[in-house]
Protein backbone atom coordinates (compact mmCIF):
# COMPACT_ATOMS: atom_id res chain seq x y z
CA UNK A 1 0.00 0.00 0.00
CA UNK A 2 1.10 3.55 -0.66
CA UNK A 3 3.03 5.14 2.21
CA UNK A 4 1.14 8.41 2.25
CA UNK A 5 -2.05 6.46 2.38
CA UNK A 6 -0.90 4.45 5.36
CA UNK A 7 0.17 7.45 7.40
CA UNK A 8 -3.21 9.04 7.05
CA UNK A 9 -5.09 6.05 8.37
CA UNK A 10 -2.79 5.34 11.32
CA UNK A 11 -4.18 8.17 13.39
CA UNK A 12 -7.80 7.32 12.72
CA UNK A 13 -7.01 3.66 13.41
CA UNK A 14 -5.52 4.39 16.82
CA UNK A 15 -8.31 6.76 17.86
CA UNK A 16 -10.98 4.36 16.71
CA UNK A 17 -9.50 1.39 18.57
CA UNK A 18 -9.25 3.44 21.73
CA UNK A 19 -12.92 4.35 21.42
CA UNK A 20 -13.77 0.76 22.26
CA UNK A 21 -11.38 0.24 25.16
CA UNK A 22 -8.02 1.22 26.61
CA UNK A 23 -5.02 -0.55 25.15
CA UNK A 24 -1.36 -0.72 26.05
CA UNK A 25 1.23 0.14 23.43
CA UNK A 26 2.23 -3.35 22.36
CA UNK A 27 -1.38 -4.43 21.83
CA UNK A 28 -2.17 -1.36 19.75
CA UNK A 29 0.93 -1.82 17.65
CA UNK A 30 0.13 -5.48 17.00
CA UNK A 31 -3.47 -4.88 15.99
CA UNK A 32 -2.58 -2.03 13.67
CA UNK A 33 0.50 -3.56 12.10
CA UNK A 34 -1.53 -6.68 11.30
CA UNK A 35 -3.74 -4.64 9.00
CA UNK A 36 -1.49 -1.79 7.92
CA UNK A 37 2.03 -2.74 7.05
CA UNK A 38 4.28 -0.35 9.01
CA UNK A 39 7.40 -0.82 11.05
CA UNK A 40 6.13 -1.27 14.59
CA UNK A 41 8.31 1.41 16.10
CA UNK A 42 6.67 4.22 14.18
CA UNK A 43 3.43 3.99 16.10
CA UNK A 44 5.02 5.20 19.35
CA UNK A 45 5.89 8.65 18.06
CA UNK A 46 2.30 8.97 16.88
CA UNK A 47 1.03 7.98 20.33
CA UNK A 48 3.34 10.47 22.00
CA UNK A 49 2.17 13.20 19.66
CA UNK A 50 -1.50 12.46 20.25
CA UNK A 51 -0.79 12.58 23.97
CA UNK A 52 1.06 15.89 23.67
CA UNK A 53 -1.79 17.36 21.69
CA UNK A 54 -4.21 16.32 24.43
CA UNK A 55 -6.14 13.63 22.60
CA UNK A 56 -4.82 10.79 24.77
CA UNK A 57 -3.77 10.29 28.34
CA UNK A 58 -1.83 7.41 29.80
CA UNK A 59 -1.89 5.50 33.04
CA UNK A 60 0.11 2.60 34.42
CA UNK A 61 -1.62 -0.66 35.27
CA UNK A 62 -0.14 -3.80 36.80
CA UNK A 63 -0.12 -6.87 34.60
CA UNK A 64 -0.30 -10.48 35.72
CA UNK A 65 2.77 -11.39 33.75
CA UNK A 66 5.23 -8.85 35.03
CA UNK A 67 5.89 -5.12 35.31
CA UNK A 68 3.12 -2.57 34.93
CA UNK A 69 2.16 -1.41 31.45
CA UNK A 70 1.33 1.97 30.07
CA UNK A 71 -2.29 2.11 28.93
CA UNK A 72 -3.64 4.68 26.53
CA UNK A 73 -7.03 6.28 27.02
CA UNK A 74 -8.96 8.87 25.00
CA UNK A 75 -9.55 12.23 26.63
CA UNK A 76 -12.80 14.07 25.96
CA UNK A 77 -11.02 16.02 23.28
CA UNK A 78 -9.81 12.71 21.83
CA UNK A 79 -13.30 11.23 21.84
CA UNK A 80 -14.60 14.19 19.88
CA UNK A 81 -11.73 13.97 17.45
CA UNK A 82 -12.32 10.24 16.92
CA UNK A 83 -15.99 10.81 16.20
CA UNK A 84 -15.28 13.66 13.82
CA UNK A 85 -12.54 11.81 11.95
CA UNK A 86 -14.71 8.73 11.52
CA UNK A 87 -17.61 10.70 10.09
CA UNK A 88 -15.31 12.54 7.72
CA UNK A 89 -13.67 9.29 6.72
CA UNK A 90 -16.96 7.57 5.95
CA UNK A 91 -18.16 10.49 3.85
CA UNK A 92 -14.88 10.53 2.00
CA UNK A 93 -15.00 6.81 1.26
CA UNK A 94 -18.57 7.10 0.00
CA UNK A 95 -17.53 9.80 -2.46
CA UNK A 96 -14.52 7.86 -3.67
CA UNK A 97 -16.57 4.72 -4.15
CA UNK A 98 -18.91 6.65 -6.40
CA UNK A 99 -15.96 7.54 -8.60
CA UNK A 100 -14.51 4.06 -8.57
CA UNK A 101 -17.71 2.40 -9.75
Amino acid sequence: MDTQFKKGVLEIGVLSLLQQKDYYGYELVQIISKTIEISEGTLYPLLRRLKKEGFLKTYLKESKEGPSRKYYQLTNKGKEKAKKMKTEWKEFVKKIEKILK
Binding site: G25, S39, E40, G41, T42, P45, E65
Partner: protein
Protein backbone atom coordinates in the same frame (compact mmCIF):
# COMPACT_ATOMS: atom_id res chain seq x y z
CA UNK B 1 20.79 -9.80 14.50
CA UNK B 2 20.05 -7.00 16.91
CA UNK B 3 19.60 -7.68 20.59
CA UNK B 4 17.52 -5.52 22.88
CA UNK B 5 20.70 -4.18 24.42
CA UNK B 6 22.09 -3.16 21.04
CA UNK B 7 18.81 -1.61 20.00
CA UNK B 8 18.46 0.41 23.19
CA UNK B 9 22.04 1.66 23.22
CA UNK B 10 21.75 2.73 19.58
CA UNK B 11 18.51 4.51 20.43
CA UNK B 12 19.99 6.22 23.48
CA UNK B 13 23.03 7.31 21.52
CA UNK B 14 20.80 9.10 19.05
CA UNK B 15 18.57 10.73 21.64
CA UNK B 16 21.35 12.47 23.56
CA UNK B 17 20.32 15.97 22.53
CA UNK B 18 16.85 15.65 24.08
CA UNK B 19 15.80 16.62 27.59
CA UNK B 20 16.02 13.87 30.18
CA UNK B 21 12.25 13.71 30.52
CA UNK B 22 11.57 13.29 26.79
CA UNK B 23 14.40 10.83 26.40
CA UNK B 24 13.21 8.63 29.24
CA UNK B 25 9.66 8.55 27.93
CA UNK B 26 10.83 7.38 24.51
CA UNK B 27 13.15 4.76 25.97
CA UNK B 28 10.45 3.43 28.28
CA UNK B 29 8.06 2.95 25.37
CA UNK B 30 10.49 0.72 23.52
CA UNK B 31 11.64 -1.07 26.70
CA UNK B 32 8.06 -2.01 27.40
CA UNK B 33 7.58 -3.12 23.81
CA UNK B 34 10.54 -5.49 24.13
CA UNK B 35 9.38 -6.81 27.51
CA UNK B 36 5.86 -7.56 26.33
CA UNK B 37 7.12 -9.07 23.09
CA UNK B 38 9.42 -11.40 25.00
CA UNK B 39 6.51 -12.48 27.20
CA UNK B 40 4.73 -13.41 23.98
CA UNK B 41 7.63 -15.73 23.17
CA UNK B 42 9.17 -13.58 20.45
CA UNK B 43 12.93 -13.35 20.12
CA UNK B 44 14.74 -10.06 20.72
CA UNK B 45 16.02 -10.08 17.16
CA UNK B 46 12.51 -10.51 15.80
CA UNK B 47 11.14 -7.66 17.92
CA UNK B 48 14.03 -5.38 17.02
CA UNK B 49 13.56 -6.13 13.35
CA UNK B 50 9.86 -5.33 13.32
CA UNK B 51 10.38 -2.15 15.36
CA UNK B 52 12.57 -0.65 12.68
CA UNK B 53 15.97 1.02 12.78
CA UNK B 54 16.62 2.70 16.16
CA UNK B 55 18.49 5.55 14.51
CA UNK B 56 15.54 6.34 12.28
CA UNK B 57 13.12 6.06 15.21
CA UNK B 58 15.27 8.45 17.23
CA UNK B 59 15.36 10.92 14.37
CA UNK B 60 11.63 10.72 14.00
CA UNK B 61 11.08 11.26 17.73
CA UNK B 62 13.42 14.24 17.71
CA UNK B 63 11.73 15.79 14.69
CA UNK B 64 8.30 15.43 16.31
CA UNK B 65 9.49 17.07 19.52
CA UNK B 66 11.18 19.96 17.75
CA UNK B 67 8.10 20.58 15.65
CA UNK B 68 5.82 20.75 18.67
CA UNK B 69 8.32 23.12 20.27
CA UNK B 70 8.30 25.32 17.17
CA UNK B 71 4.53 25.22 17.22
CA UNK B 72 4.41 26.55 20.77
CA UNK B 73 6.98 29.25 20.18
CA UNK B 74 7.22 30.25 16.54
CA UNK B 75 10.66 31.77 16.62
CA UNK B 76 12.94 31.63 13.61
CA UNK B 77 15.39 29.49 15.59
CA UNK B 78 12.79 26.91 16.57
CA UNK B 79 11.35 26.66 13.08
CA UNK B 80 14.80 26.34 11.61
CA UNK B 81 15.67 23.53 14.06
CA UNK B 82 12.42 21.73 13.25
CA UNK B 83 13.12 21.98 9.53
CA UNK B 84 16.63 20.71 10.01
CA UNK B 85 15.44 17.73 12.04
CA UNK B 86 12.83 16.89 9.42
CA UNK B 87 15.38 17.14 6.64
CA UNK B 88 17.44 14.57 8.52
CA UNK B 89 14.63 12.04 8.16
CA UNK B 90 15.27 11.49 4.48
CA UNK B 91 17.11 12.91 1.52
CA UNK B 92 13.84 13.53 -0.26
CA UNK B 93 13.05 16.08 2.41
CA UNK B 94 16.07 18.18 1.63
CA UNK B 95 14.45 19.50 -1.52
CA UNK B 96 10.87 19.35 -0.40
CA UNK B 97 11.48 21.16 2.89
CA UNK B 98 14.25 23.58 2.14
CA UNK B 99 12.93 24.94 -1.16
CA UNK B 100 9.64 26.40 0.02
CA UNK B 101 11.17 27.64 3.28
CA UNK B 102 13.95 29.53 1.54
CA UNK B 103 11.45 30.97 -0.94
CA UNK B 104 9.16 32.19 1.85
CA UNK B 105 12.08 33.54 3.83
CA UNK B 106 13.35 35.41 0.76
CA UNK B 107 9.91 36.94 0.17
CA UNK B 108 9.68 38.17 3.76
CA UNK B 109 13.20 39.59 3.72
CA UNK B 110 12.71 41.39 0.40
CA UNK B 111 9.38 42.85 1.56
CA UNK B 112 11.05 44.13 4.71
CA UNK B 113 13.80 45.64 2.58
CA UNK B 114 11.22 47.29 0.35
CA UNK B 115 9.34 48.71 3.33
CA UNK B 116 12.57 49.97 4.84
CA UNK B 117 13.60 51.57 1.55
CA UNK B 118 10.25 53.36 1.21
CA UNK B 119 10.46 54.67 4.76
CA UNK B 120 14.07 55.81 4.20
CA UNK B 121 13.22 57.66 0.99
CA UNK B 122 10.41 59.41 2.87
CA UNK B 123 12.85 60.36 5.61
CA UNK B 124 15.22 61.74 3.00
CA UNK B 125 12.42 63.80 1.56
CA UNK B 126 11.52 65.21 4.99
CA UNK B 127 15.16 66.19 5.55
CA UNK B 128 15.34 67.65 2.08
CA UNK B 129 12.32 69.80 2.82
CA UNK B 130 14.47 71.83 5.20
CA UNK B 131 17.19 72.46 2.66
CA UNK B 132 17.04 75.52 0.39
CA UNK B 133 15.20 74.75 -2.85
CA UNK B 134 18.09 75.93 -5.03
CA UNK B 135 19.93 72.88 -3.78
CA UNK B 136 17.86 70.64 -6.08
CA UNK B 137 17.77 72.88 -9.12
CA UNK B 138 14.10 71.97 -9.46
CA UNK B 139 12.12 75.13 -8.92
CA UNK B 140 8.73 73.39 -8.98
CA UNK B 141 9.44 71.71 -5.63
CA UNK B 142 7.66 73.01 -2.64
CA UNK B 143 8.85 72.67 0.96
CA UNK B 144 5.46 71.80 2.35
CA UNK B 145 4.69 69.17 -0.29
CA UNK B 146 8.08 67.60 0.28
CA UNK B 147 7.63 67.54 4.02
CA UNK B 148 4.20 65.93 4.01
CA UNK B 149 5.02 63.71 1.08
CA UNK B 150 8.04 62.50 3.04
CA UNK B 151 5.98 61.80 6.14
CA UNK B 152 3.49 59.95 3.96
CA UNK B 153 6.24 57.79 2.53
CA UNK B 154 7.63 57.03 6.01
CA UNK B 155 4.17 55.92 7.14
CA UNK B 156 3.74 53.83 4.01
CA UNK B 157 7.09 52.14 4.61
CA UNK B 158 6.21 51.38 8.22
CA UNK B 159 2.82 50.00 7.20
CA UNK B 160 4.56 47.87 4.63
CA UNK B 161 6.86 46.46 7.29
CA UNK B 162 3.94 45.76 9.65
CA UNK B 163 2.12 43.97 6.84
CA UNK B 164 5.22 41.93 6.13
CA UNK B 165 5.44 41.01 9.80
CA UNK B 166 1.99 39.43 9.58
CA UNK B 167 2.87 37.71 6.33
CA UNK B 168 5.94 36.28 8.05
CA UNK B 169 3.81 35.06 10.93
CA UNK B 170 1.41 33.40 8.51
CA UNK B 171 4.33 31.81 6.71
CA UNK B 172 5.70 30.36 9.93
CA UNK B 173 2.34 28.77 10.74
CA UNK B 174 2.21 27.35 7.21
CA UNK B 175 5.77 26.08 7.49
CA UNK B 176 5.02 24.19 10.69
CA UNK B 177 1.90 22.63 9.18
CA UNK B 178 3.96 21.63 6.19
CA UNK B 179 6.67 20.05 8.34
CA UNK B 180 4.07 18.07 10.25
CA UNK B 181 2.56 16.79 7.05
CA UNK B 182 5.99 15.74 5.86
CA UNK B 183 6.85 13.92 9.06
CA UNK B 184 3.62 12.00 8.86
CA UNK B 185 4.16 10.99 5.28
CA UNK B 186 7.79 10.07 5.53
CA UNK B 187 8.14 8.34 8.85
CA UNK B 188 5.73 5.51 8.06
CA UNK B 189 8.02 3.89 5.56
CA UNK B 190 8.80 0.31 6.26
CA UNK B 191 12.36 -0.66 5.57
Amino acid sequence: MTTKKQFMSELKKNLKSLSKEDREEIIEDYEEHFDVGKKKKRTEADIAKSLGKPKQLAKQAKAELLVSKAEKKKSFKNIWKAIFATIGLSFFNLIVMLGPFIAMFAIVISFFAAGFAIAMSGLALVVAAFLPLEFFYIPAFNHLAMFFGGIGLVCLGILFCIGTWYIGKGFSILTIKYIKLNIRIISGEKE
